[in-house]
């Protein structure tokens, strides 16, 4: 271990978190990393930050060392009961895999990219992200319209020819379309079927007819005309009337009985 304290000193795990040996600035950095875990924009961002502690050009970064740093970070975060988002854990699993591939000799006849290729790609991703960060910073540091330089403050409007121009932006267009399509998607689901007899209809019918059912009689004899032939209509009306008589039995308006399973259901008016 070098005499210069690095993130490795704490990243090796709680037992190696030897604060005594760290310079105050490094200790601050280490703590900040843990505390600010929410401040990272994803695993790549975290890797980039960890990678900077290697103090080398990103092209010469040790991916093996970086993987260890990352895994130690995740371990430590978990020890501190900091909840990490799933993508951090996915990256940890991938880095653990990469680390083992880097350490072990390649299996003969193994397909796919080599561990070195994968490591190189990771280094490339970090370099590219870093490059984009710097490009973004340079872009934002440019002189900007409305801040550093200015457009004509008084665009001239000589009202000579008046032409109405209708304007709409692409955003308007897309939103309009989205509005129509979602309206469509959220159309309440309706069964567009003719052969449906509802329970409400059945209840209405049965209320009028129950008076005539002084004796036990089959439910099927109450089905409306025209609803007992076509199987679809028969099923629907039977179900509706069955639901209706259950409701009426609950209200104490009728009694029902069934000899055995699947035998005809019989109903009778309940005597007051």
């Amino acid at each position: 271990m070098s005499s210069e304290p690095t993130l490795d000193d704490w990243a090796g795990g709680p037992d190696r978190f030897d604060a005594e040996r760290m310079a105050p600035a490094d200790r601050m950095a280490a703590e900040a990393l843990i505390v600010d875990v929410d401040g990272f924009e994803g695993p790549l961002d975290l890797l980039l930050t960890l990678g900077r502690t290697q103090k080398v050009d990103l092209r010469r970064i040790s991916v093996l060392q970086l993987s260890e740093q990352y895994l130690a970070f995740v371990q430590r975060a978990q020890a501190l009961r900091i909840e990490l988002a799933a993508d951090y854990l996915v990256m940890a699993a991938w880095l653990a895999f990469l680390k083992s591939r880097l350490l072990l000799p390649p299996e003969p006849g193994e397909d796919g990219p080599s561990a070195e290729e994968l490591a190189q790609h990771l280094a490339y991703q970090l370099e590219r992200l870093q490059a984009m960060r710097e490009a973004a910073a340079r872009l934002m540091a440019r002189d900007q319209l409305g801040r550093d330089f200015f457009a004509r403050g008084l665009p001239e409007d000589i009202t000579r020819l008046r032409k109405v121009e209708y304007s709409a932006t692409l955003l308007d267009l897309m939103r309009a379309y989205a509005r129509i399509r979602t309206k469509d998607e959220f159309r309440p689901f309706v069964m567009d079927r003719d052969h449906v007899f509802t329970m409400e209809q059945a209840l209405d019918r049965m209320r009028g007819m129950i008076g005539y059912a002084g004796e036990w009689s089959d439910l099927t004899s109450f089905l409306p005309e025209g609803w007992d032939g076509n199987p679809m209509r028969r099923r629907s009306s039977t179900a509706a009337h069955f639901a209706a008589i259950l409701e009426m039995a609950k209200r104490g308006q009728l009694e029902l009985r069934q000899g055995e399973t699947f035998s005809p259901i019989q109903i009778r008016r309940k005597e007051p």
């Binding site: 457009a151 409007d157 304007s167 267009l173």
Partner: protein, 218 residues
Amino acid sequence: MSDAPKRPLDEKSLFDAPPMGEQERMVEAILFASSDPVTVAELVARMPHGCDPAEALAYLRKRYEGRGVHLVRVGDAWAMRTAADLGHLMHKETVEQKKLSRAAIETLAIVAYHQPVTRAEIEEIRGVAVSRGTVDQLLELDWIRLGRRRMTPGRPVTFVVTEQFLDHFGLESARDLPGIKELRAAGLLDNRPLPGSMQRPDDDDDDATDGQSELFED
């Protein structure tokens, strides 16, 4: 006309006002960017200590003599205006911007996404009748035009979008319009979960060209 307006500042300007050439540039920039005429008092307040905007204005006025833009006095304030004799070039600035009606933008969107599309199909998708004026307006704007007749009974006319449409909306082709899934991903659609979470690809536009029906099969 001008004598080296970009004179480098010498030490003197640390204590004195900037050279007159610099002051002229300042007045020029302030008048250009301001939405109202600017008074000399205001110029004095905005420019470095010791400046003489009145003198700078005199130089500037001379500089713009005979140009396409003039320095004019408005009450006790100053402004830049285009030369009166060039007014005939300005009619572009008199355009009145109006937002398209909701019916029009929806109709336009349907044509763009479903082209070629018949009037009946537009009405089916929108769920309401499309007024004649709406279609006429879009035709007049040159954003839609008539496409080929549909080879179905009645041979209805179809509508398609125009080059002008693509131009106005900064699209390279109508195929570049994002699909529903992409609209949602871009945050342009509420992310409400779909009932049944099954997103049906369109089945009401069998007649649409192959390219368009692809839009919804991401």
